[in-house]
Structures are given as C-alpha cells and as structure tokens.
Symmetry: C2
Subunit: 115 residues, 2 copies
DNA sequence: TTGTTACTTAACTCTATGCTTAACCAACAA
DNA sequence: TTGTTGGTTAAGCATAGAGTTAAGTAACAA
C-alpha cells in the first residue's frame, strides 16, 4: 500500500465527499452550466469554485470545454455509474452471504421444529 | 455553506475514498472479522488500522462490538445503499433529461426527414 | 482602444488526514 | 502471578485539502 497513486475510485469518492461538489453535481444533473453559473449559489470566491470543479474533472465525474471566454461544464454519467457499481457489488456480496447464512440456519433449525 | 458540520453522506463518501478502507469493506462484505484479522493484509501499524475502522464506523458503514478482548466488526448494508441511492438519483435525473432532449431533437428533426 | 466580463494563475494560510512510536490496560493461558 | 494476546490512548509529524487575496489574460462590447 506504500507509494500508491490515487485510482479513479479514490478520486471519485473523494470528489463526492464534499457537499459543495455534490451540490454542483446536483446542478449539473439538470443540464450543463458555465463556471460562473455554477459559482452563483455558493458563498465563496471564484477560484475556490474552480478548484472544486477541477477536483470533479480530475475524478472523471464531469468534463468541460471552453468556447470564447466561457467554460461549459457537464456531467459524465459513465463515471457516476462506476462508483455506483462498486457499491452495488459489495452490497450484493453481503446480501448473498446473508442468504446462505439464512439457508444454513433454516436447515439447522429443522430438527428443532420451532413452535 | 459556512461552519457546516459533516453529514452522513460526507462521512460515507469520505470513508469510501480511501483504498485501505475500501479493502476493509471488501473483506467485511464476505463476513464479520476481528480488528487483528482486518489488520493482517495491511502493512501498517495496528493503531492506523483502528483509525481507519473508526472512520468507517463513524460514517455508519460498519458497526462493531467488543466481547472479551476481541472486537468484531461487520458491514452495515443500509448505509451503503444510502450512498448508492444518492448516485442513482443523480444519474437518473441526468438520463431523464437526455431523454427529453432526445424527444425534442426528434421533433425538431422531423421536418428535415434525414436521408 | 478602453472597459468589462469570465475566467486563470500564483502564493499563502489553516485545518484535517494518514501515518508513526511509545506506553498502557484488560482478558485469558500457563 | 506472570506472560502473552488483542486492543486502546496519546502525542507528534508530514502531506493534502479547502479556502483566501492579488494580479494577470483573453474575449467581447461600446
């Protein structure tokens, strides 16, 4: 685990860990927006907003391109589903395990014939 | 956004952002384990491992109880689905928007009767 | 060409995170 | 009762993260 560079999943969950950035994703899930549009709801300097956007872009959750002097940002839905997938896989594994445990207990209980 | 305390979702995504902690969730999705069992795969001190476990427990992703001198840790699947839910909601919203956009473009294109 | 808009870059501050070592404590085993 | 196991607590350190202000640049508008 030493000297490990951050993976996509690291960056993605890291990006989602901040409420400001989640609010931005929220906004962007309703459609693309410019940097200053995205900045408007927040009580912080523009550079701070841009740094959040860079975190989001680095993680692959959004992409952006600049035309003229305005940069337009949009969500990158495939990245979102990667994170979703990871969680779902773990939850599924856990549930399967519980099912097997349930089966086992059912079998073990049979001889007892409860009530 | 000033002076805001971290929410469940903050703590959860934060917890999932670390590869060590994701590996622990991975292990725990196969069943409960003691602290030292969980520590074994990692090349780090026990206190470090325990701090990771605290982060996971704080976020609600796992729970633990101590009997005798061994502490047993297990996954808390409901918490996992909260994170999953958040992602899914955003992705869904995005997809719906794309659908509407598609409909709009289809209508707009109709007069053109392409090819 | 002069001003304004929409960022962008740089430098700095402050706090949080991830790790370490050292010392401690309680449970069980001999 | 003495040693060992399985944590726990405390303190410290180094890096990363979230914010700031100040200054710069490129596009468009008058």
């Amino acid at each position: 685990m030493l000297n490990q560079q951050p993976t996509n999943l690291d960056l993605m969950f890291q990006a989602l860990a901040d409420p400001t950035r989640r609010a931005m994703i929220d906004r962007l899930s309703r459609g693309p927006a410019s940097v200053s549009e995205l900045a408007k709801p927040f009580d912080m300097s523009l550079p701070a907003v841009v740094q959040h956007l860079q975190a989001l872009e680095h993680s692959g959750l959004v992409s952006s391109q600049k035309v003229g002097r305005v940069r337009t940002v949009q969500i990158q839905p495939d990245a979102l589903s990667l994170a979703e997938q990871w969680i779902n896989d773990r939850r599924t594994m856990w549930v399967k395990r519980l099912d097997r445990l349930g089966d086992f207990l059912a079998e073990t209980d049979e001889p007892e014939t409860r009530t």
